[in-house]
């Protein structure tokens, strides 16, 4: 299968990335994926505390990590951001990818809550997305205590977290809340069917190739992957109705498995009368801004997320 070329700087960096973890993550490599996710993308609580006030909440069904800008008064409500980490549905914790969230908080003072949802394959669908929704519901029920403005709560996630954010937004719509004013979906994992061209064009190349994707979906929905009866809350691309959803931000690299499903999701949101902002970054692999954080395109991509957040949060 032909695919667009990787950006040269990204291609060079991928050599080191793939030396640590192959492009094709098979079920045998899930342990390695978990180790690397814990080691590389998950700052410790102490590290997080240097940038924000941190509270661990275990009161609800799902452990939550609450981050508040330092020295702010909870009596004055701030915008809220509910965050779902990535890791292919199989790896990561509420601390995974939290640097993104801390960077956003540095730009826009807001309260962030990251959910420690249960992971597949030990906990297949519906556990992950139900955990995500239960955590969101808890946040919705405690907005005042958390110091979150009820009118300004967005949901955000990357990769598997992006798929879960989209699924949670569907659940919030269908179960009557909590109200969301935006969904920030960074290279989201939306479709188990592997029907788009991009979902099969990477084999043994880049990050999260078609083999990894099959491993992730099999972990989440088992043998049902690609067949009949997979829930749209697991694979939001399957949702027949995308109306009534909050404004969406969708972002993918042009050289990634999720490219076409993200583009299709944005198109269907527009067709359903919704609002969506779509970015397809040329030469970008899945998660390119973490692969080459210093590259101009990575800066642009990060700035686009912040700009969108500013708009939907009407700062």
């Amino acid at each position: 299968m032909p695919h667009p070329p990787f950006d040269p700087e990204i291609a060079a960096a991928l050599v080191a990335v793939n030396a640590a973890l192959p492009s094709s993550i098979t079920p045998e490599l899930v342990g390695r994926l978990r180790e690397l996710t814990a080691a590389g993308h998950s700052p410790s609580l102490d590290e997080i505390r240097q940038r924000a006030d941190v509270e661990e909440i275990a009161a609800g069904e799902v452990p939550l990590l609450v981050l508040r800008p330092k020295d702010t008064d909870p009596a004055i409500p701030l915008p809220g951001l509910y965050f779902l980490h990535g890791g292919g549905m199989m790896a990561g914790t509420s601390r995974t990818g939290i640097d993104w969230v801390l960077d956003w908080m540095a730009e826009i003072p807001m309260v962030a809550v990251s959910a420690d949802y249960r992971l597949a394959p030990e906990h297949p669908h519906p556990a992950p997305v139900e955990d995500c929704h239960a955590g969101l519901r808890w946040v919705g029920d405690h907005l005042k205590e958390l110091g979150i403005d009820p009118e300004r709560l967005v949901i955000a996630g990357g990769s598997a977290g992006g798929g879960l954010a989209a699924g949670t937004a569907l659940l919030a719509r269908d179960r009557g809340g909590p109200a969301l004013c935006g969904q920030l979906l960074v290279c989201p994992m939306l479709d188990d069917r592997a029907v788009t061209p991009s979902s099969t064009e990477l084999v043994g190349e880049g990050t999260w190739d078609s083999v990894s994707n099959a491993t992730g979906w099999a972990a989440l929905v088992g043998d049902a992957a690609g067949g009949e009866g997979v829930s749209p809350y697991a694979a939001p691309a399957r949702a027949a109705d995308l109306s009534g959803l909050p404004p969406a931000f969708l972002e993918v690299g042009a050289v990634e498995t999720f490219r076409d499903e993200a583009v299709a999701y944005a198109s269907r949101l527009w067709q359903a009368g919704g609002q969506a902002e779509l970015h397809v970054w040329p030469g970008g692999c899945h998660g390119f801004d973490e692969v080459v954080p210093h590259a101009p395109m990575s800066r642009e991509a990060r700035a686009s997320r912040v700009n969108w957040l500013r708009r939907v949060l009407a700062e």
Binding site: F6, P8, E9, I10, A11, A12, A13, V15, A16, V291, V292, P293, H294, A295, P296, R299
Partner: protein, 386 residues
Amino acid sequence: MQAVDPGAGAALQVVAHFDALVEARAGLEATVRTAAVLAGCPAGLAVPARRLLVRVEPDGRRADRGPGSGLSGGRSSGPGGVVVPVPGHEGAVTWLDRSPPGDAEFDRVVLDRLAATAGIVLDRTGTGVSEVDPGAVELLLDAGAGEAARVAAARRLGLAVDGEFVVTVAAGHAAAEQGGAGTAVGLAAGQSRAGGLGAVAGTAGQQSRAAAPGVAEVAGTAVHQSWAVRLGDVEVTIGPATQPRLRRGERSATGPVVGVRELPLSYQQARIGLRLTGAPGPSHVDTTTLGGLPALAEGCDSPSAVAEVTGLERVTSAYSWALATLTAVAAESSLRGAAGVLHVHHSTLQSRVELLEHRLGYAVTTPAGRTRLTIALALRLLRRNR
């Protein structure tokens, strides 16, 4: 990719990463950025031949003018710290601006890989010192090409678009040897407006790789390059007007001082000037001193020109000394001066001139006769040198 801590394995990591950049055909900015990020200090690349400066901060941001440069322009930030030349590209340098100095060994590895990788990129992108597109030089001289195309070609060659230039054309053995077989192009000389830099290459064999500006001059100063290209049997050099006129090959001529847009005119004039050179006359001419003489080129095939040259050559073929004698008589202010140039006795010259005047059918020592002779000699050269 993150800054790596100097230590065991770090050097290998650096080498592997630059290798991967080469493999992926990354560009110059990505290459410099890699060095800056790996080393954790500003890194830079200056390529005077392309008037190019790339400077990247350790956080990956491009900052060609260095930190703290505001609207006032700031100090241009050229090479500083540890500087290493780019192999195969004269004048091009890379540097790591680490202050205070860090692990010298580690920096050396990063810098060596930066320089080597930058050299590879410059080779590949093709308009470097060693690999010039001859077509770009030809385009500059082609009056038929669009002005936009010619200006673009000038930029590609690193010529200052607002600069002033002179075209020199040269013919003969020396020029041919310089060019080598086929179409060859080389950097003839690099000279900055500030002056005092690399020597102008004026002799055969030196010119393909001559001195380039010193590194201190790279960043802010306009760098004026000279380019040489072989077009047919002549070597054409485009050089800055400030550069001393080149005398190259057996015969050469320089055109008027022009801007980039008028280079074809300077070239055309120089080519006509070259046709007016050759023994026993001058071997090098500056066409700006020729007045209206080059205009004869347009009429040198007219019947009157053909008749005049035929008459002249009938005489010059009769006596081996005739052509030199007539050339000297036309060029010198007196017969005594001509005798000196010809190394013959004044009375010998006197009798030869009388003989030649008889054969030509007109006096060559009267003002009108000298003018006719001068024109006849010019027409002869124009007809012989095409």
